[in-house]
């Protein structure tokens, strides 16, 4: 379409000025140092885990449940110590970030207030929104979760950027890569974009940078998340609309969007909510419009990389993520036949290619 502007993002060639504009940092040296430390420990632990083998052989069997597989691997003292280390440094990361926002709460709250009603872009907060119970949990061990901490979005973005991602996306590079990989509709028209479950809005921002002329929306159930997302986008000069709404009830008209993205949303919602969200996406995406879905493995995929890992290590990791990364809906999501859900909702599903982003299962669904 003549009006569509599509800019290829180049995360490897950011200028010093670009990096300075996108860099996140606390106004206190000690907090930045704590994040630097957490990042270093996570990198060291990741490298150590990559070569680690159980000190005693474990009998592999398909019959083990994920909980049994976890218990079997935890009998290895080295694995248990590694697990303790991983979760302790993870909790250190959240704890120090939360304390930093609490310590300077007036400063950070005033900063968000200053942009609540300012542009570019807009912010829609809905304190009366009936937040579903499934969204009220402390996912990823983040204190207060997405909805219960006044700085939930800010905490999430800073902790992940400064420590958890281990230096892989200091300026939003990963999200730029993902935005680049999102396919356009066959007719090329991209007038409206939605990032559903946008959290702190980093992917939303990248989509807006790729399609600067498109009306771009980020929707999330969390008030603190969309509030921070708008604050961040406004500071970056990006004209994006952020709204606190439910993914299963977005309030948009039928056939409204040319592209919808979701990144790691579905494994954080209940199976019942997932079905409703799929139906809602089918309602608001126009015929020929694209839904680029990125999340964990589920059943129903023809390719092994899209299906859950059933090795004992894969099962143990599944329990670790569900139980200790505190993701209550992870297993329910994996049990869904997601391709069938998409097809039944009215999408043609392209499963021919490899994952488009970081090896994570992704699917391009085109609305019939």
């Amino acid at each position: 379409m003549a009006g569509t502007v599509d800019i290829k993002l180049d995360p490897k060639s950011l200028t010093a000025a670009d990096k300075a504009r996108r860099r996140v940092s606390f106004p206190r040296l000690d907090v930045n140092s704590h994040m630097h430390f957490a990042e270093g420990v996570k990198m060291w632990a990741t490298r150590r885990m990559a070569g680690a083998q159980p000190s005693s052989p474990i009998c592999e069997t398909e019959a083990l449940t994920i909980e049994q597989a976890w218990a079997a691997t935890m009998r290895d003292p080295a694995h248990a110590a590694q697990t303790r280390l991983n979760w302790s440094i993870h909790d250190f990361m959240w704890d120090r970030v939360c304390r930093a926002f609490g310590r300077d709460a007036d400063h950070f709250l005033a900063a968000m207030e200053a942009t609540d009603n300012d542009g570019p872009g807009s912010l829609e907060l809905n304190p009366a929104l009936a937040i579903p119970d499934y969204a009220r949990h402390e996912i990823h061990r983040q204190p207060g979760g997405y909805v219960g901490d006044p700085f939930g979005g800010w905490v999430y973005h800073y902790a992940l950027t400064l420590a958890h991602y281990q230096g892989r996306t200091p300026h939003g590079e990963l999200q730029m890569e993902l935005a680049n990989a999102v396919p356009k509709p066959a007719d090329g028209a991209v007038n409206r974009i939605l990032d559903i479950g946008c959290a702190s809005g980093v992917l939303t921002n990248a989509m807006k940078e790729r399609f600067p002329k498109a009306e771009t929306w980020g929707v999330d159930v969390s008030g603190p998340c969309v509030r921070y997302a708008h604050h961040r986008a406004a500071k970056l000069g990006l004209d994006i609309h952020f709204a606190q709404r439910l993914a299963e009830d977005t309030k948009f008209p039928n056939g409204h969007f040319d592209i919808v993205t979701d990144y790691l949303l579905f494994h954080e919602v209940s199976a019942e909510a997932a079905r409703k969200i799929v139906a809602e996406m089918a309602r608001i995406i126009r015929p020929g419009g694209v839904w680029c879905h990125n999340d964990a493995q589920t059943t129903g995929w023809p390719s092994e990389i899209h299906r859950p890992d059933t090795s004992i290590q894969g099962k143990a990791m599944a329990w670790n993520l569900y139980r200790h990364n505190y993701e209550p809906w992870y297993e329910a999501y994996k049990a869904l036949d997601f391709p069938a859900l998409l097809r039944d909702a009215g999408f043609d599903v392209d499963m021919s290619g490899p994952p488009i982003f970081r090896g994570r299962p992704s699917v391009n669904a085109v609305k019939r």
């Binding site: 040296l29 430390f37 926002f101 310590r103 901490d149 006044p150 008030g223 505190y326 209550p328």
Partner: protein, 126 residues
């Protein structure tokens, strides 16, 4: 109606408190706690090292201050009180792990039994 902090609206909502911070991975919860505290100490040590590197660089390049002045510095009473507060906060950050409440979290997540809490306030973040 949204919760507030110091008169600022927060738009945070009630949330279910998880039991993720009660888990035990080693033979004795106190060993778990010691490892957590040790990591906390490492973080504090590294923060201090970084601060010292910054301070020493600035002192040497911009102020010409003799390092011996640092060695013999004595705080005022107000400074001492401030340092005491910093020390107490430091001890809470690092050693609260040693008195952590633990529970058996080996089964599935107890969704039905999860306790609904009001939005986090400044006390929760300290």
């Amino acid at each position: 109606m949204t919760s507030t902090i110091n008169g600022h609206p927060t738009y945070a909502a009630d949330y279910f408190e998880g039991d993720w911070n009660k888990s035990v991975f080693l033979d004795n919860p106190h060993i778990d706690n010691l490892m957590t505290a040790l990591l906390g100490l490492g973080g504090e040590y590294w923060a201090m090292r970084r601060r010292l590197m910054v301070v020493e660089k600035l002192l040497a390049t911009k102020c010409g201050i003799d390092p011996s002045e640092i060695e013999t510095y004595h705080p005022s009473e107000d400074e001492q009180k401030s340092w005491d507060r910093e020390r107490d906060d430091f001890i809470r950050r690092v050693f609260s792990a040693l008195v952590r409440e633990v529970a058996d979290v080996s089964g599935p997540i107890d969704i039905e039994g999860a306790k609904l809490r009001p939005p986090r306030n400044l006390e929760d973040m300290s």
